[in-house]
């Protein structure tokens, strides 16, 4: 890989200042970025590690009852929490144990891989992504393949998850990569149901609004049995056709509703 400058600031302000340089890039756990650098798919002038900022990995429940997860919290740290079991279960199934010990929630959300797990958890929960400068609703955050609402040099500092009455993340893995071939996060709140789908669409994570409307009427897997998913916008590759992924969206949604706790 190309070489780069490296800094490990101890505060968010220092990190933001370090990221002001042209072609500087934030480094979370590096579990996606480092393989990308090895392939010379990116050439940052400087990597700004976010692992040295005190408290950026804290996890707690705030007064409003939200589970607040610091951006540098690893998947293993989130997997060990008990306040929001469906989200802990999602984190516990990302990658493998060694990857979960490095990879961070902030890195995953900022990368917005179309097959990543956390974007479904954040969008399905209606989470708020907090940065050094503002708060962004999950509905406004994800903007397509590897695209987010983050500005150049903007850093995620924490993610606030409202805790639903019931939720489940149902993931159908692609066995070689262990990423979701298609996965669905269903969350039932007092004021409505949210259904977020990852791994399926050419536009990245999305909400399946027809299913949300049906489940708002009756929260039962049978409620979506008459619905169909348009295959036009779905990913098609050697692992599965767009029609297959569209089918999986419905199957995994039904399974998530049945299993929601």
């Amino acid at each position: 890989m190309y070489n780069f400058d490296f800094v490990k600031p101890s505060t968010v302000d220092e990190a933001v200042a370090a990221l002001a340089d042209e072609d500087a890039q934030a480094l979370g756990g590096g579990q996606t970025l480092i393989p990308t650098l090895k392939q010379r798919l990116a050439m940052p002038s400087k990597l700004v590690s976010l692992k040295g900022i005190e408290g950026l990995d804290k996890i707690f429940v705030d007064r409003g009852g939200n589970l607040v997860i610091g951006a540098a919290a690893t998947h293993a740290q989130v997997a060990a929490t008990t306040d929001y079991p469906a989200l802990a279960s999602l984190a516990a199934r990302i990658g493998d144990p060694a990857v979960r010990n490095r990879g961070t929630i902030g890195g995953s959300l900022a990368n917005n891989d179309p097959s990543a797990c956390y974007p479904a958890g954040a969008l399905g929960s209606g989470a708020t992504i907090v940065t050094n400068g503002r708060s962004i609703e999950a509905d406004d955050f994800f903007e397509g393949l590897f695209e987010t609402a983050l500005e150049e040099g903007e850093i995620i500092t924490e993610v606030r998850f409202p805790i639903p009455e019931k939720a489940c993340y149902m993931k159908f893995i692609q066995p070689a990569s262990r990423f979701p071939l298609t996965a669905v996060f269903v969350a039932k709140f007092a004021d409505g149901v949210r259904v977020a789908v990852t791994g399926a669409s050419n536009d990245g994570v999305f909400r399946w609004s027809d299913a949300e409307a049906a489940l708002n009427t009756t929260f039962d897997a049978g409620s979506i049995s008459e619905l169909s998913v348009d295959a036009d916008d779905m990913i098609s590759d050697i692992h599965g056709s767009s029609e297959y992924r569209a089918h999986l969206v419905k199957v995994m949604t039904a399974r998530a509703v049945k299993a929601a706790l």
């Binding site: 590096g30 393989p35 990658g95 060694a98 990857v99």
Partner: protein, 162 residues
């Protein structure tokens, strides 16, 4: 180029690295600790697993410079003080948990991480935990048996396993 300091298998070590130097390359080429293997170099195969501050990490997927001041344990740190094989290593030998041996350093380090978290894992839990460690020889069967045997040994004589 930055100088870094690590505690490697209980010993203070230091070296000069490029920012882009991966931990595994620092271990193998900088420190001569070649027990840690590079299999895929993409973070998938797990041959390079070491422990950093007590948890398993893929050393091909982390920069050495990120870990300045950390405690690193490699396969060289798994033997007993007298040089004999540690409990997990001995179990792999006794139960034929390896054929070519290339994946074995990572398998042993991952097994050690698992048994630290869960001293009595089920077969399903062992197989799930080995998700990120690929072996192309054994079909995993004897690796699972080795880890079960190591767990039994450690539970039977917790002092001997220390």
């Amino acid at each position: 180029m930055p100088d870094i300091n690590l505690t490697l298998n209980g010993q203070a070590v230091s070296g000069t690295v490029e920012n882009r130097t991966l931990l595994v390359d620092f271990l193998r080429e900088g420190l001569g600790k070649t027990g840690t293997h590079v299999g895929c170099d993409t973070g998938q195969c797990g041959a390079c697993v070491v422990h950093v501050d007590g948890v398993s990490v893929k050393s091909c997927n982390v920069f050495a410079v990120e870990l300045d001041g950390s405690k690193v344990t490699t396969i060289e740190g798994m033997a007993n003080a007298d040089g004999s094989l540690g409990v997990i290593q001995q179990a792999f030998q006794d139960h034929h948990g390896l054929q070519c041996g290339f994946c074995t350093p990572g398998m042993v380090m991952t097994a050690a991480a698992l048994l630290k978290e869960n001293s009595d894992p089920s077969e399903a839990e062992i197989r799930e935990y080995l998700d990120g460690n690929i072996c192309r020889c054994t079909g995993y069967h004897n690796i699972v048996k080795s880890i079960q045997a190591a767990a039994a040994e450690m539970n039977a004589s917790p002092v001997a396993a220390e």
